[in-house]
């Protein structure tokens, strides 16, 4: 839980600084700041996976399984922890960016809510949830390890790669950017859903046991 809190604090702190800096630049916040936010939101998903990994090592999950909680419910709790963290990161990020943007006297346009609703918010929650889900399955398959050799070490890539790939494609084919973004998000959603449906098969209870 400590790692979850640290992850959240670091993520929130960084996103406040970057969003405020982008807000200071006016249009930069709308055009780049909102695009960068989902990458920060991955820290929320990472927090969920770290929480799971830590609880598994400490034997917390073993106890919860003994009490009758299913792996699906345990994963759902990790996802919920990630979603809460993402909401906090997004909340402070948008608030910081918007505040400096307005204080600098820039006008509000429809472009800002459009980007937030089409891209920033859905992409943040999707990549965060994907990061958590893949992270949970992955760490449950392996013995706990520390550092970059552990699944947790490369997890941010799981969240950042789809975001970056989708952005590059959307920016390259600018005239269909909105449709491409929505289509990409739908694909990530379907992948996520198919993983969640297979939770019991991919992660039987014995995968949640602490190392002997």
């Amino acid at each position: 839980m400590v790692v979850g809190r640290v992850s959240l604090l670091v993520g929130a702190g960084m996103v406040v600084l970057y969003s405020a800096a982008f807000g200071y630049g006016g249009p930069l916040f709308v055009n780049i700041g909102t695009v960068v936010l989902p990458i920060f939101a991955v820290s929320g998903g990472l927090g969920g996976a770290l929480l799971f990994s830590n609880d598994r090592m400490k034997g917390v999950l073993e106890y919860l399984v003994a009490y009758g909680l299913s792996p699906r419910r345990i994963l759902a709790n990790a996802l919920l922890a990630g979603v809460v963290q993402v909401t906090l990161v997004l909340g402070v990020g948008v608030a910081a960016g918007l505040t400096t943007y307005l204080l600098r006297g820039y006008p509000l346009t429809l472009r800002l809510p459009e980007v937030l609703l089409v891209y920033t918010f859905p992409m943040s929650y999707l990549t965060s949830s994907l990061t958590t889900t893949v992270g949970v399955f992955w760490t449950s398959l392996s013995s706990p390890r520390a550092g970059l050799n552990s699944p947790i070490g490369v997890l941010p890539l799981i969240g950042v790669l789809p975001t970056a790939a989708l952005l590059i494609v959307a920016l390259t084919l600018g005239s269909y950017a909105t449709q491409i973004l929505l289509g990409g998000e739908l694909i990530i959603f379907v992948v996520l859903l198919s993983l969640l449906v297979r939770t019991d098969r991919l992660m039987p209870p014995e995968r949640l046991l602490s190392p002997a």
């Binding site: 839980m1 830590n54 609880d55 400490k58 073993e62 003994a66 009490y67 014995e206 046991l209």
Partner: protein, 297 residues
């Protein structure tokens, strides 16, 4: 049986199961079978010590009885109800060999978390804090506790709510003898009139608390009997000294070692103290014969 109450209702209104049955139980991890054809029935509230060397299958047995591992064959029944039913599982408390306490929380926060899981109350948390004598640690972070304190906090979790069956997997491992004895005493005190399965690889610990002994070897059940029927075995230590000494003149010799039979490891510190008081300069004291080897052979 689905949905029907399991066990009798005791005087304070709690359901309490009267029997635990493992029938032709085979269990393990993935496709690796660790337990083979284990069958026994427990129908008397008492402490049953599950003994076995490392790798014998003690933890696997506990995890299977707790419903964490699904049996590959056979079944676990509580008063005839399969353990995969929540109504049967609700009668069990399981203490794993890890403490299950999250480092980032305080003792109070951890117990509050488990109280919510257990549907226990804040009053229950206060009660176990006092029972386990960890009230002064209430606001201490788990990560700052000693091994003995962590174990106490972990055991407190198990007694948040009364249950009929307790599975305690090596609760005194890695604790120093004094703390281990305190923990055993607490467990004895708190688990009266319950079915307690207590795993250990220490026969002397088993003799101290157990009324029955269940031994496992290679994943199979080798003995289920009253402790008093387990034959007395020798506990022999060897003493090696830095120089020849007349103080051990009457002792039996084996190579460089002077041999002495004791009733158990608890007597070793006293022996060392006695020898040092007699001016014997000790190089080594080691266990020469382990009665567990007799028991498992």
């Amino acid at each position: 049986m689905l949905g029907s109450p399991v066990g009798r209702v005791d005087e304070v209104g709690h359901d309490r199961p009267t029997s635990l049955t493992c029938r032709s139980l085979a269990s393990g991890y993935e496709k690796k079978e660790v337990l083979h054809d284990v069958t026994f029935t427990i129908d008397e509230p008492s402490i049953y010590v599950v003994l076995g060397p490392n790798g014998a299958g003690k933890t696997t047995l506990f995890r299977t009885i707790a419903g964490i591992l699904r049996p590959m064959e056979g079944e676990v029944l509580i008063d005839g109800v399969p353990i995969d039913r929540q109504s049967a599982r609700d009668h069990l408390h399981y203490l794993s060999h890890t403490d299950g306490m999250p480092d980032g929380l305080t003792v109070r926060e951890s117990l509050d978390f488990y109280a919510r899981v257990e549907r226990a109350t804040s009053t229950d948390v206060d009660r176990v804090l006092d029972q386990l004598e960890i009230r002064e640690l209430e606001n201490a972070y788990i990560s700052k506790l000693s091994a003995g304190q962590r174990k106490r906090a972990s055991i407190a979790r198990v007694f948040l709510r009364e249950r009929g069956i307790y599975l305690l997997d090596e609760p005194t491992t890695s604790l120093d003898p004094k703390v281990a004895r305190e923990i055993r005493s607490l467990i004895l005190d708190l688990s009266r009139d319950r079915i307690v399965l207590y795993s250990s690889h220490n026969l002397f610990e088993a003799r101290e608390i157990g009324r029955y002994v269940i031994t496992l070897k290679g994943g199979g059940l080798t003995l289920f009997d009253k402790m008093e029927n387990v034959r007395a075995a020798h506990y022999v230590v060897g003493v090696r000294t830095l120089e020849a000494t007349a103080a051990l003149g009457g002792w039996e010799r084996k190579g460089d070692y002077y041999l002495r039979e004791l009733s158990g490891p608890d007597q070793v510190p006293g022996l060392i103290q006695d020898l040092e008081a007699r001016g014997v300069r000790l190089r080594e004291v080691r266990e020469m014969e382990n009665p567990l080897e007799d028991l498992f052979s």
